[in-house]
């Protein structure tokens, strides 16, 4: 059987810019508040009534030719057999070279122990609300929305001093599910699957529509494709 080559297609005609993907990603992957594995670029151009608006969801592109991987001195950042770019927090020395090498700004570094807001004993409204620490203690989890399933293939919460990034929800894909952002999208704008399978949703979408990628000139060969950009063929 041919090797899998996972990819995502984002249909910009369908995307409504609700950011449900971003929220779902945070909850699924225990992503710190200030990090954005699933992110978006918003562009507003022109003067009313001649204006254009672009909303481009972004995430790790799981590049075929990933500079984050080639530059990593410990192989902590690596390409999996199925085309995903994954990260092993146990090997990471926190040199941040991958962050510098990635042209897309999708890698984040834990300067401090993450989720500081759930170790803080100060209540948001003193005398009225829980403090973050109380909340974490009562839920008996490092953070109230902690998802233990994440820890099956990656550090559940990535420790201080290492980087972290989108993994295409490899833990979900391993059990035959779609990444959380795909499931959460209310407009079915995200299609995920194996590009080597011509019957997969992304393969079919790419056969019908001209695929675009971010910063093509960087030669990274992204595996996140955008179709049907407004105003473009």
């Amino acid at each position: 059987m041919a090797k899998k080559r996972y990819a995502m297609v984002i249909d910009l005609h369908r995307c409504v810019g609700c950011a449900a993907c971003d929220i779902a990603c945070k909850a699924e992957n225990n992503v710190p508040v200030e990090f954005h594995w699933s992110n978006h670029i918003v562009e507003t151009r022109g003067t009313f009534p001649n204006t254009t608006f672009r909303y481009i969801p972004t995430l790790c592109n799981h590049c075929e030719n990933a500079p984050c991987v080639t530059n990593c001195p410990t192989t902590a950042m690596y390409k999996a057999e199925n085309g995903m770019t994954l990260h092993d927090a146990n090997k990471c020395i926190g040199c941040r070279l991958c962050q510098l090498a990635c042209p897309y700004g999708v890698i984040f570094f834990n300067k401090d122990t993450p989720h500081a807001n759930y170790r803080d004993s100060q209540a948001a409204i003193p005398g009225a609300t829980f403090s973050g620490r109380e909340m974490a203690e009562r839920t008996q989890a490092p953070l109230p929305y902690y998802n233990p399933a994440r820890a099956e293939t990656y550090a559940g919460v990535r420790p201080r001093g290492v980087v972290e990034k989108c993994t295409f929800c490899d833990h979900k894909v391993a059990v035959g599910e779609d990444p959380a952002c795909v499931t959460a999208c209310p407009a079915d704008a995200r299609l995920f699957g194996d590009l080597n399978d011509p019957e997969s949703k992304p393969a079919k979408a790419l056969a019908r529509h001209r695929p675009r990628v971010l910063q093509r000139d960087k030669g990274t060969q992204p595996h996140v494709f955008y179709i049907r950009e407004y105003g473009k063929a």
Binding site: N39, I41, R54, L100, G105, F109, L214, G219
Partner: protein, 319 residues
């Protein structure tokens, strides 16, 4: 209304002053080693004190730089992972190996010169350490240029002149640091053998090498500017951003005080080398100090300025 673009990225520079320090000290060390080796092999006995100083600077400086880099690592306890995992596509991985070997060889070279009376096996002679150390020194110098140049997402770094700048920087700063420390030690402990004016006359070729390297560095910096200014849109934007943030510091301390003033001092001192005349040690020292300040400033502007965020208009390019 102008185009407005929003993307929330992690704030702050990724590689800070500690990496600047590592690259700077690494360059000093490599330059000092090559300088020591060449003087030791091809110059006369009277240069031995200067050779010893330069040879000692080499391992100390590179080790100090590595120490700064180690300090910068987020997860220091994992550093052994670099040895456990082979990562041949990573310039940094090669750098760790090459620099480790260089520190060992240059330390042995310095030890043999400083303590020739200590008897060690022949295979550990200064000659063996020196000859083996030269290719490693060159490799460390190239590594320092390549480390940044391979990061094509940073147009300020990914250019040919960047590598040449790096090589010239190690020549200039390595020699300048050696001469400066030598002069300071000579003033403090008067350890030189032989009449100092004869020695100073012999320094003329060294001064010429320094002058030529500094002048070449100026030309290379200009080539770097031309490469970016007339390059791709991202390159132009990166240059603009760097100059807006660090342009004045680069112009004043990197180019003005750091290169032009020492070149002028050097040229004015040239007639004083030889014919029984001795150049002012204070002026030579000042020129060397300024070259070091210039070298550090150029590194600083390149490393920190090269990390200014890529314009969002570039990041949002779909094609």
């Amino acid at each position: 209304m102008d185009t407005e673009l929003i993307l929330t990225l992690q704030r702050g520079v990724i590689w800070d002053e500690r990496v600047v320090g590592d690259l700077f000290l690494g360059g000093v060390g490599v330059g000092a080693f090559l300088f020591a080796f060449l003087l030791w092999r091809f110059a006369e006995e009277r240069y031995l004190p200067l050779v010893k100083v330069a040879a000692t600077i080499a391992p100390v400086s590179v080790s100090a730089g590595l120490g700064l880099l180690f300090w910068k690592l987020g997860n220091k306890l994992n550093v052994h992972q670099m040895m456990l995992n082979i990562s041949p596509t990573s310039v940094m991985w090669w750098g760790a190996i090459i620099q480790g070997a260089f520190v060992a060889l240059s330390a042995l070279f310095a030890f043999r010169l400083l303590f020739p009376q200590v008897s060690l096996p022949r295979v550990l002679s200064a000659s063996v350490a020196g000859f083996l150390g030269v290719p490693f020194a060159v490799a460390v110098g190239i590594y320092h240029g390549l480390l940044l140049a391979v990061l094509t997402s940073h147009p300020l770094w990914a250019s040919g002149p960047m590598i040449v700048t790096s090589v010239l920087l190690f020549t200039v700063t390595g020699v300048a640091a050696s001469v400066l420390v030598y002069l300071a030690l000579r003033a403090a402990v008067r350890f030189e053998t032989g009449p100092s004016d004869i020695f100073a006359q012999g320094l003329k070729p060294v001064a010429l090498v320094l002058l030529a390297s500094a002048a070449l560095l100026l030309v290379t910096l200009f080539a770097w500017w031309v490469d970016l200014r007339f390059g791709s849109v991202p390159a132009r934007l990166a240059l603009q951003a760097m100059l807006a943030e660090h342009g004045i510091v680069l112009a004043v301390f990197g180019i003005g005080f750091g290169l032009l003033v020492p070149i002028v001092i050097g040229i004015s001192l040239l007639p004083h080398f030889g014919a029984g005349r001795t150049p002012s040690a204070a002026l030579v020292g000042l020129a060397c100090l300024l070259l070091l300040v210039g070298g550090f400033t150029i590194r600083y502007a390149a490393v920190i300025g090269g990390q200014l965020p890529t314009p969002l208009s570039v990041m949002a390019t779909l094609s």
